[in-house]
Amino acid sequence: MRFAWAHLCALFLFVAGATAEGHASHLVIAVRAEPNSIDPQFSAVGTNQATAMHMFDTLFTRDADLKLQPALALEAQRVDALTWRLKLRPGVRFHDGTPFDAEDVIFSLTRARHVPFSPASFAGRVAKIARMRAVDPLTVEIVTTEPAPQLITDLATVFMIPSELGESVTTAEFNDGRAAIGTGPWRFVRWLRGDRLELERNPDYWGPRPQFERVTIRFIVSDAARVAALLSGSVDLIDAVPPADLDGMRSHAELVLWQIPTVTFLYLGLDVARDDNPSIKTPRGQSSRNPFKDLRVRQALAAAIDRKLLIEKILSGSGVPANQMMPAGTLGFDPTIPPLAYDPERARALLAEAGWPNGFEVTLATPNNRYLNDALVAQAVGSMLARIGLKVHIDAMPRNVFLPRATRREFGLFLYGFGSVTGESLIGMRSVLGSVDPKRGSGTLNRGGYSNPVLDAALQRAAAANADDELAVNLQEAARLAAADMPLIPLYHQVATWASRAHLQLVPRRDERTLAHNVTSLEKNR
């Protein structure tokens, strides 16, 4: 029956596809999230960055594997502990024809500090910059307030805009297109809020020229609607393909899927610090001592989860079982950490050993609109935990409700994730597992109260590292420490999936961003 249905869909799709107009050199993409501004410096959230990457460039950029690559800057020399010298790419022009030079860099990095009303400011990325100087039109000298080994990483997020816009340029001017002038592969045509963004090819792009003349990026929040748009031929490519549709799409001759394991790490957070855990009840119903303070309980939970089954059934394969924060092939990943085995017997034994032979009652909090099938994952995890004798309730809520409560540490057990979009684990480890220390910016996302001075020290060393090797060694040490102590229970790394018409090719990115210039068509005449 199921196959018959799928074939029926395929048949109609074929008909539909045949009738759809051939978009001559026009690409239509549907993405899940819409930016809240075209101003590339307004908000540092991923959606905005992904959108900005079409029209604007950064000094350094990250490739599909999140490796740093030169972009508008060709190289960065460290003159001394505090001084950096950047060589700019020659011959680059903004969409309006003005050449890109050192003044634009200084202007852009200066404006990034104080974009009005910015909810997610870039100020932190440029905070350590003390002063800047144009040595010549293609050379910029940056002096920092303190040694800043991560400066290039930070600069890789700040987009360049022409200095001609002037100090007074507003976000609104970007949004209506007047100020949407960058050096990127696409030019702004128009933005219909809530519906789509239209772009046209920048014929003078300094990098590889996009294959398509025009691109429309439609914003379709609803998973079903996005998939339907692809199936009905309204769009050529969609991102965030819901796991539910993967099986169906794999069997379509007309469609092709693009997948890549991402740096988005899903885990079970645990309150390991306090004596009274707000999510726990004993079998008799009263709140009690906090079982999660006991390593054996944490290990029991880790062993109770069948990650493979979870990924297969709930995510239709859109996941890679995780045993640490970073996926293989990224900075900070430690290959020596053993995988987490599914062993319910051992889990039950560990629980009994820890003094909970009859389990306990616990509420697992989860967002329901943040990650792929997050609420379903939580329920599946809940049912697995129920099998080792816990009584599990699920408390699912939108992330805007979840996050403040998590930050207030109202949850003793929760499902959440972290995306190391910079391709290394320093920021993630420091925010999620570092001891809470606002002054050093450590532990900002530490919602379980974990504190380990040895781990903090390793991260401290990593932050001060001047070379990637040094960074990697320290981060791997931190990863091993976390694996041994298990302050959170790793679940999996999300796999991102795009689906497109069969003739299209996409270079999928680990940070899940959908870039129109990464799409090419196999049909040369298009």
């Binding site: 109609f12 809240n36 400011s121 100020a123 609607a225 748009a229 309204s234 805007n400």
Partner: protein, 313 residues
Amino acid sequence: MLAVLAAMSVIVFLGVFVIGDPVELLVNPEATQAEREAAIAALGLDQPVWRQYLSFLGDALRGDLGRSFVFNEPALQLVASRIPATLELALTAMAIALLFGIPLGVIAGTRPHSLIGRTIHGGAVLGFALPNFWQGLLLIMVFAVLLGWLPSGGRGETGTWFGIETSFATLDGLRHLVLPALNLALFKLSLIVRLTASSMQEALASDYIEFARAKGLRPRRILGVHALKNVMVPVVTVAGLEFGSLIAFAIVTETVFSWPGMGKLIIDSITVLDRPVIVAYLLLVVLMFMVINLIVDILYSAIDPRVQLAGSR
């Protein structure tokens, strides 16, 4: 009415304050404490809630409903920019409902016990029973995915008429309009059918119809003039009043069909707690309803000659 607006603004203001903190969503998770605080201050969220409300109220009186936390644009302008999309959807839906609903209702009302009358009645019950969102999903499934006749969502190409962006202006826009408008219309269509049918039945049983028959009028005139003119009174009134509800139910349709109207905006804004937008939306909608009610009142007195007298017994 001003009291309503004020009360509404207080409730929404407090309500959103209670549910959650927009900062958590908006601020970069990597941000330092200082950055967070800066963002909070920039949004004015560091003030106590009554302070925030008072400053909001002060601005509101000057016509400024604040800036969207998310889009950093005046909330009122943001909501207003979405009005045309919603209005064209609602208007089309209402047109569909009336254009099909009245004739079907007349048929069902004049021949309630015939096969066709029963079929229409059954269809109307079905239209009532199917929840709006399911209808929409099924429409997408059948007409967009299976048959591939119509686009599954979005607003399509728009053209400009009298300075307003509208889907009516282009073929592509019209194609995009069909399914959402149909989805939005189905419930009202059922309502109009039932209302027309029952008013028709009532009219046909009345003395003036019997008198018209006694006068020897032709059946077509009895039905088309005597009965229909009376039927139109409740139908027009209800249609007018239901127009407001169409705008509200557009929330569901717009969500299902990713239609970039006010409804989608409000749902999106609720998920991210964009308070200024929520407040602006509500105030604007209240205002729209007041205008609609006024228009219905005027329309009603235009269509029913008795209305002037109705007040004074």
